[in-house]
Symmetry: none
Subunit: 121 residues, 2 copies
DNA sequence: AGCACAAATGAAAATGATTTTCATTTTCGT
DNA sequence: ACGAAAATGAAAATCATTTTCATTTGTGCT
């Protein structure tokens, strides 16, 4: 655990969710830290290898990261105004796990989001 | 539906699964077709917009594509090799509907994807 | 402290997929 | 056939990420 990794973990804690390498780098600089983008990438890769950080891809292919410990949850998003509600996902978790086991997949994760028009809109 | 899109659809039919833009381009050239890489990308983007083709991302961020059946379904995707299985989603459908109703949302849709490491990898 | 060697750092260059530009070609309606 | 609009693709641009490599920092030993 070197200095860069500690800095990256601390900014991930502050963020409390997903962020890209470039966002994290900017946040660190703005927070007064001195760190190169290369080191941010290296630290993130190492933390992912050590399973301290989760990595996944946005639709545009950019990688986003979050601390593994962050509470896992899902959103109900309004297609019109963008307001979001955190929703309970135990049924979904069971489904994802069952589907993965049924096909022999390991190291399982999932993404799920529900869209609609909220009552206000 | 222009010539490029037709060529891309036909090669996707031949492939019968996921392939990257570059792979599809190579396959088309080897098959004797004359088409530029730019047109392959353009055709794929257009087909994705029209929901004729599914696009997703491998772990390394590269986009892979395949023809999409009309029926609504979900995927179990291997994070490592990109192989996918179509999975049964009735439990998920119920969950999404219940969550939306609980919060008074209308015109509900959802996105869900399960990922892991397949038995082969 | 002084020295040697390994690890860490980051600027700059390289990589590679994807997108954009733009000049040329093809298609289509009149 | 003529002109406008769409399609095409080569080359350049973009952009996240990785690699290189020279420099700095940390660590153990004398
Ligand atoms: Zn709304
Ligand atoms: Zn979940
Ligand atoms: Zn696999
Ligand atoms: Zn569904």
């Amino acid at each position: 655990m070197n200095k860069s990794e500690i800095k990256v973990i601390s900014v991930l804690e502050r963020v409390g969710g997903f962020a890209s390498a470039q966002q994290l780098h900017q946040l660190l600089l703005r927070g007064g830290e001195s760190i190169g983008l290369t080191s941010v990438y290296r630290a993130l890769q190492s933390l992912v290898d050590d399973k301290i950080v989760d990595q996944l891809r946005k639709d545009d292919g950019e990688a986003i990261y979050r601390l593994c410990g962050e509470a896992h949850h899902h959103h109900l998003v309004c297609k019109s105004c963008g307001s979001t509600v955190e929703i309970e996902g135990s049924a979904l978790e069971k489904w994802a796990k069952a589907m993965a086991e049924e096909h022999g997949y390991r190291e399982v994760g999932h993404l799920a989001e529900v869209f609609g028009i909220c009552p206000k809109c």
